[in-house]
């Protein structure tokens, strides 16, 4: 009996080692981690606030809603900021590339909001989307790669880069809010205040329609396929400029 018990223990130990003996993998690795979005379809997929949309192919110009995927890691307090379509999708903690929010007196200010690269940019925030136009390269500074979560294109008039971000950093405030990019002594900052506002990606229904820059698709307010190329309506005449993309008609 003792021998059988011993053998059983050995078997148990072997099995437990085989089944559970994962080795720790100590190494330094890049901050961006994979978060493959297997359900993505179409040609372009982006996070749109807290939802996700794809455009092109079966999703067409209006887009379709697809599941949001985040890395299988503890979600950072600042949340994940993700970019890329399908298997190319990667994420990093939002705190890594932008300044923290400082909240006081009911409003939150992000003193170092993110820009598409380290050049000089002019940015505005409308309906929860940030869009920017490049003013100049930062003198003597290599521009570096564009932030992959921005979608960019050359402006129709002028040719400077216009970029749009449908999932800017959310402020740490639970209530509906509206953010705006402002200049404080020449330095841009994002100021978020509690204020009901039409927002990208919010839920919609017949009795809760979307605003003019989005359409209700599968219960979410989605912008049309983003093809950044405008800053002002005059760039799109006779059309209009909506969130950096020219649209037909007024």
């Amino acid at each position: 009996v003792a021998s059988r018990r011993f053998n059983a223990l050995r078997l148990a130990a072997l099995l437990s080692f085989a089944a559970c003996g994962q080795q720790a993998e100590p190494r330094v690795q890049p901050t961006r981690v994979a978060a493959a979005a297997e359900a993505d379809r179409g040609e372009l997929c982006l996070d749109v606030a807290d939802t996700r949309a794809c455009w092109g192919g079966a999703c067409g110009e209006a887009g379709c809603v697809v599941p949001v995927v985040v890395p299988k890691l503890l979600t950072p307090a600042s949340g994940f900021r993700c970019a890329g379509t399908g298997r190319a999708r990667t994420c990093e903690a939002r705190a890594e590339q932008a300044g923290p929010f400082r909240c006081a007196d009911g409003r939150c200010v992000q003193e170092r909001p993110r820009f598409p690269d380290n050049g000089e940019w002019d940015c505005v925030e409308i309906d929860g989307a940030v869009y920017c136009r490049k003013l100049a390269e930062a003198a003597g500074v290599q521009a570096g790669p564009l932030d992959p979560a921005f979608v960019c294109g050359p402006r129709r008039q002028g040719g400077e880069l216009v970029c749009v971000d449908f999932a800017p950093d959310p402020p740490p405030m639970p209530e509906p809010h509206r953010c705006a990019v402002r200049n404080r002594a020449g330095l841009p900052e994002r100021v978020c205040e509690p204020k009901p506002s039409p927002r990208l990606g919010r839920t919609c229904a017949a009795d809760a329609p979307c605003d003019a820059s989005t359409r209700c698709v599968q219960g979410r307010c989605l912008p049309a396929w983003p093809r950044p190329g405008c800053w002002l309506d005059k760039d799109c005449a006779p059309g209009v400029c909506k969130l950096g993309t020219c649209r037909e008609g007024a």
């Binding site: 018990r5 059983a8 223990l9 078997l11 148990a12 130990a13 099995l15 437990s16 089944a19 559970c20 994962q22 720790a24 993998e25 100590p26 190494r27 330094v28 690795q29 890049p30 901050t31 890691l73 503890l74 950072p76 307090a77 903690a93 890594e96 590339q97 932008a98 300044g99 923290p100 003193e111 170092r112 993110r114 820009f115 690269d117 380290n118 000089e120 003013l135 100049a136 390269e137 930062a138 003198a139 003597g140 500074v141 290599q142 570096g144 932030d147 002594a185 020449g186 330095l187």
Partner: protein, 628 residues
């Protein structure tokens, strides 16, 4: 058997992984250095390149022992911040000359309270009254006279790392059961200063002259104006223009801003597009990335943040260190930095030009002063360039105000004149540059914004036509050390002798003279001998170490050449006025005499003629002697 299955079941029931993210307060080189108690419960461990430790455990209560940090207790999924074992100021900036200061080390947790700290000074002139009392260190900085001596002309006094009164103190902290920790504190008496009136907010500068007072300041400003160690110190506390006046009624307009508030759109097409693109690829622009690519040892990290980024550590100047502190960022590598920090990671426009506005037109030549480069390149023992240059004649080339008055002199006696002549920095009104003493400084031979030759950013300069040798080596030197093509008597000569060939001015027949040229093809050109130091960087005093000569030559060169040349010129004096005394020269009685004087002056004016090219010097003297 049931018992056995129970064991297997218990052992293999996949306990839920617990994910913990730990924000490290200080850099940790390797994840393997983190120790967990009890052992064996960590399933995965990752140290990412932004200073986060990600731990996946089986859910057991664990304690992580991270080098340099207090123990961190992990039990449930969470995002934690690891407290540093000790908190202390890494930089005590601008404490003043001859000023008492104290460094206090605070334990971050009970484990650190019993630490044994041993203090020592590891850099700088020995501090006076250094006294360590446990976790506190008290000392007094040295007086200003130990570093700089006045009087200074009215305006901002330039301060370099060598003169800022910089000290590095180190404490070895021993905590039971841990590797000893090394705590480094850098103390500065004052911030570095370019000498320009374009200042950073919070940067304290010394002012030359007496009785300074603030005439005008921006709204809300309370500028600091104090007499410290016998010198007036000024610091702007808010951005804007400040107008100051001294006892003599001279005014100084200073513009203060923070580095991160300064727009960096200088490279717009209608402004400085070529300068901006030229600067983008220089080693200075990449000063932050390059060392990281080669691995920065911990003891060099503070030095890295002094001169490889924008701004002064310890100040609220919107520089790299200031912004990194407010963003809670660690400098782990360029690519990992937020864009706002990438803009400040390297030597950028405001590092030299200051974050304030462009100075008034009369003061713009100050940017050409060596004191601007000295804020980094006067930091012995690594950087001795500026101190060496200051001992050279080039540093004094425009001390005589007459040398700055006409462009003909200024082209080789002032940096502004040299650059104007080269078409690099053309000024419509030359007189505006004439009141600033600069010398032939760094910016004459080096260009921080290209186009440059090689790693040393040596300026690309055209070879003068008189040398008849396009593309001659050391063009930056020879453009001033060779005669101008139209001169009746040569204003400079040594490059002609080294080159061993010369085209005479058209007025003297335009003949090509050529001879032996034993040194013309030396690798490195002029600096193959001038400033050459075995195994070391170039000596910017440009002195010739005689060992460089004797490595090839057995004996000293004869000194008879100068005597012969002087004899020819004295003999010519009656027929060629001012032959011996120099400019302005009047034409001689004949073209042959003009040629004789020209050839003799080439040898006479070059004190190193014998070393540069004795055979060609003799050839020139023979020509002169034949023609007189």
């Amino acid at each position: 058997m049931r018992w056995c299955l129970l064991v297997v079941l218990l052992a293999c029931t996949p306990a839920r992984d617990v994910e913990v993210r730990i924000r490290l307060a200080a850099a940790v080189a390797r994840a393997e250095d983190v120790r967990f108690e009890p052992r064996g419960h960590v399933r995965a461990l990752r140290l990412d390149d932004r200073g986060w430790l990600q731990v996946s455990t089986d859910g057991a209560a664990l304690t992580a022992h991270i080098p340099g940090h207090c123990p961190v207790h992990l039990e449930q999924a969470a995002e934690l911040v690891a407290q540093e074992l000790f908190s202390y100021p890494e930089t005590l900036a601008q404490v003043g000359y001859d000023a008492a200061f104290a460094v206090r080390v605070e334990p971050g947790c009970p484990e650190a309270e019993a630490a044994d700290l041993r203090w020592s000074q590891v850099e700088g002139l020995p501090l006076a009254q250094l006294e360590a009392r446990g976790r506190e260190l008290h000392a007094r900085t040295l007086p200003l006279a130990a570093y700089l001596s006045g009087p200074w002309p009215p305006g901002v006094v330039a301060v370099s790392p060598r003169t800022q009164g910089r000290y590095v103190l180190e404490a070895i902290a021993r905590v039971a059961g841990r590797e000893p920790a090394r705590l480094r504190v850098t103390v500065t008496s004052i911030a570095r200063a370019t000498g320009l009136s374009s200042l950073a907010v919070s940067q304290r500068v010394m002012l030359g002259g007496d009785g300074w007072r603030v005439l005008r300041a921006p709204p809300g400003a309370s500028p600091e104006l104090q007499l410290r160690d016998g010198v007036v110190n000024f610091a702007a506390d808010v951005p804007g223009r400040y107008l100051l006046a001294n006892a003599a009624g001279e005014q100084l307009e200073a513009q203060a801003l923070t580095h991160d508030h300064t727009p960096m759109d200088c490279g717009r097409a209608e402004c400085h597009a070529s300068i901006s693109s030229g600067a983008e690829t220089t080693p200075m622009s990449h000063a932050f990335e390059l060392p990281f690519a080669h691995g920065v040892p911990a003891e060099s990290a503070s030095c890295m943040l002094d001169c490889h980024v924008v701004g002064e550590p310890g100040l609220s100047d919107g520089g790299f260190c200031d912004l990194a502190r407010s963003l809670g960022e660690q400098a782990t590598g360029y690519a990992q930095l937020p864009h706002a920090l990438q803009r400040l990671a390297g030597v950028r426009c405001t590092s030299c030009h200051g974050p304030g506005a462009i100075p008034s037109q009369g003061g713009r030549a100050r940017i050409l002063r060596a004191s601007v480069c000295a804020t980094c390149h006067d930091s012995p023992p690594a950087y001795r360039h500026v101190a060496e240059w200051q001992s050279s004649r080039m540093a004094r080339s425009d001390r005589d105000p007459a040398s700055r008055q006409s462009l003909r002199c200024a082209r080789c006696h002032t940096t502004g004149g040299f650059l104007h002549q080269q078409g690099e920095r053309v000024r419509a009104d030359w007189s505006l540059e004439a009141n600033v003493e600069v010398g032939i400084s760094c910016a004459a031979c080096h260009t921080p914004h290209g186009p440059a030759l090689g790693h040393g950013l040596v300026r690309s300069v055209q070879t003068p036509a008189s040398l008849a040798a396009p593309g001659a080596r050391s063009a930056a030197c020879v453009s001033c050390h060779a005669p101008l093509p139209d001169e009746l008597t040569p204003s400079a000569s040594s490059a002609v002798l080294v080159q061993g060939q010369l085209r005479l001015p058209e007025s003297l027949g335009g003949e090509l003279l050529a001879g032996a040229r034993p040194h013309a093809e030396l690798a490195g050109g002029c600096v193959a001998c001038h400033g050459k130091r075995a195994g070391e960087a170039l000596d910017h005093s440009f002195r010739v170490d005689s060992a460089v000569c004797t490595s090839c030559h057995q004996a000293r060169q004869p000194a008879e050449l100068h005597t012969r040349a002087e004899a020819v010129l004295r003999a010519l004096e009656p027929r060629c006025p001012s032959s011996h005394t120099g400019e302005p020269a009047s034409p001689c009685a004949s073209r042959a005499l003009n040629v004789a004087r020209y050839a003799a002056r080439l040898v006479f004016d070059d004190r190193g003629a014998a070393a540069h090219n004795a055979p060609f010097a003799r050839q020139l003297l023979e020509l002169a002697e034949r023609s007189q």
